[in-house]
């Protein structure tokens, strides 16, 4: 989760950087275009101003010329020359400004002709006035009455200005649109970046929230685990305590049993008659010391051996069946049954045998045989 969030945040920051770069590039291009548009607007204003200046200089020069023609004052002549000079200068500038506009260039060519006509008239009039030829001056002025050339010049300049104003409107609109485009670009970039930043903030917030939730869950799990550990520890302690007690009891029980066994063994060994324990199959499983004494055999020589090897028991009532095996099988007792014990050294001893079946839950599992030697045959 952490890696994914980091990757996403980095990706979004790269996206923001890319948007910023695009916005910067587009903005710079738009600004350059806006500067170019602004230059064109300034250019058009300059053409209009130069056209106005041509007109005003022409009027000023014409006025000063007429004053000179009336008064003959050299200052008026100078003023006229300067004004016409300024007009000529403005014309050059205006023509240069419109040289790449064919329609305007044609009009300026016509305007040049008209202005030169007007300058021709001025030169003639000044020359006549300088020569004090008032008649020629009068005729020239009379011919110029109504100012047809001047009217045409003014109309032409007004037409030029009108067309330039149309261009001005178009160029100003283009400039405005460029500015709008720049604003739109910057605004869009800003909005996109804000959205991306909000996205980043949301990602970070979401990640922090997930981490907080995970921390809470972990804390809860830790608390639960701790409780369980405590419970288990308590249970284990209780169990250990029980086991210790049980172990103690068992040890005591084992000691009691051992004591009992030892006591039983003492009892068993202290009996002067021969006592043997037989299995259900009739094999000797245990003997007391009296048995070894009478038979002359070690206990180990008798254990697991058939009882018939050391004792011959007379069949009851002249039968052929072994009374011991029969008693074990039938689960009945024998009391004082005549038998002969065969010692290891070959001697025999008449004896009386008693048998008591060993029962475990009503099932005969063996028998205890008690043999009493009646008389010593040796």
């Amino acid at each position: 989760m952490k890696d994914k969030t980091v990757q996403r945040v980095i990706a979004v920051f790269f996206a923001i950087a890319a948007v910023l770069m695009v916005v910067a590039i587009v903005s710079v291009r738009n600004v350059n275009r806006a500067i170019a548009s602004s230059d064109w607007v300034n250019h058009t204003h300059a053409v209009i101003m130069e056209a106005d200046a041509i007109q005003s200089s022409l009027h000023a020069g014409d006025g000063a010329l007429r004053a000179f023609l009336l008064t003959g004052d050299a200052r008026d002549k100078g003023a006229s020359r300067e004004a016409f000079g300024a007009m000529s200068e403005h014309f050059e500038v205006a023509r240069a400004l419109t040289k790449d506009e064919p329609a305007q260039a044609a009009k300026f060519a016509r305007l040049q002709d008209l202005l030169n006509q007007r300058m021709g008239f001025a030169r003639q009039a000044v020359a006549a006035r300088d020569a004090d030829d008032t008649g020629t001056v009068r005729n020239l002025l009379a011919a110029d009455a109504g100012g047809a050339t001047m009217q045409e010049i003014i109309r032409l300049i007004e037409t030029l200005k009108g067309e330039e104003k149309v261009l001005l409107t178009e160029r100003d609109k283009a400039s405005f649109l460029q500015a709008q485009t720049t604003r739109w670009t910057v605004g869009s970039g800003l909005v996109i970046n804000v959205v991306l930043l909000v996205g980043v903030a949301w990602l970070i917030w979401d990640d922090i929230g997930a981490r907080r939730r995970a921390a809470v869950i972990l804390a809860e799990a830790n608390a639960t685990l701790e409780t369980r550990v405590k419970e288990r520890t308590a249970e284990l302690a209780e169990t250990v305590e029980k086991l210790v007690a049980e172990n103690q009891e068992r040890r005591w029980s084992a000691q009691a049993m051992e004591h009992q066994l030892r006591y039983s063994q003492l009892i068993f060994n202290s009996i002067s008659d021969i006592v043997m324990v037989l299995s259900k199959a009739g094999n000797i499983t245990r003997v007391n010391p009296a048995a070894s004494r009478w038979t002359g055999l070690a206990a180990s020589e008798m254990i697991s051996k058939p009882f018939a090897r050391v004792m011959r028991v007379s069949a009851t009532d002249g039968g052929t069946l072994d009374p011991v095996a029969q008693a074990i099988k039938d689960g009945h007792e024998l009391h004082e049954h005549p038998a002969v014990m065969m010692a290891g050294d070959g001697h025999t001893h008449p004896a009386r045998l008693s048998l008591f079946p060993l029962r475990d839950r009503d099932r005969v599992v063996g028998a205890v045989v008690s043999i009493r030697i009646v008389a010593n045959a040796a």
Binding site: W40, K77, E82, E89, F91, E92, A96, L115, A122
Partner: protein
């Protein structure tokens, strides 16, 4: 000694915009040397200027440190300008053209049309690769270095005035009239610009105005 007042700030360097640290350090160094610079030279007459054997563009500018600005539509005669000690950019530029040309310098009179402002005239001195500007007469660097192209000069002049330019022309001044030799329009492609300098090529030769006054 250099004793004249100095306009502190960006205008000291003939620019009204930036005053970077590098230039500030350079200025401090030059200010120390300023005590060794020649004193302001009071201009009296055109003859005195023409007879100054040490005349250079920089020395010429030093004559005008205490001149005042006064706009006039016409160019004043040189002696009137010198006597009144007031005038405008074309008075200064035309006088510089007149004096420095006589001293063997190659000069060009340039007039820049500025958006929303009065036109501004300067005198470009080819040998110095700089122009003389009346606005810079009171600052330390009286010569503004610039490449010789008319477009470059127009842009430099407009930048110095924090303004836009629309067109510029190179002209000669005689008989109280300006004869336009070459014109540059800002919106026109630079490749169409005339070759700089009077002796640079046929397109830059003075052709005179197409509307002749002639009296």
């Amino acid at each position: 000694m250099f004793t004249g007042p100095v306009e502190w700030g960006p205008r000291m360097f003939g620019r009204s915009t930036h005053f970077p640290g590098l230039w500030r350090g350079l200025f401090l160094m030059l200010a120390l040397f300023g005590f060794l610079l020649p004193a302001w030279l009071p201009a009296q007459t055109l003859v005195e200027l023409l007879n100054d054997p040490k005349m250079t563009p920089k020395r010429f500018a030093n004559y005008f440190e205490y001149f005042e600005y006064e706009f006039s539509a016409e160019v004043q005669p040189p002696d009137v300008f010198l006597a009144r000690k007031r005038g405008d950019c074309d008075d200064y530029a035309c006088l510089a053209d007149l004096v420095l040309t006589k001293k063997g310098f190659e000069t060009r009179l340039i007039q820049v049309q500025l958006a929303g402002m009065v036109d501004h005239a300067v005198c470009y001195v080819t040998e110095s690769k700089a122009y003389l500007d009346y606005n810079n007469r009171k600052v330390f660097f009286t010569l503004s270095h610039c490449r010789p192209q008319l477009r470059e000069i127009a842009q430099d002049v407009a930048d110095s005035l924090d303004s836009n330019w629309t067109s510029a022309f190179e002209f000669t001044f005689s008989d109280d009239t300006k004869q336009i030799a070459a014109t540059v329009v800002k919106t026109a492609p630079p490749k169409d610009d005339p070759v700089p300098g009077k002796k640079a090529g046929p397109s830059a030769q003075p052709t005179g105005n197409s509307v002749k006054v002639g009296f």
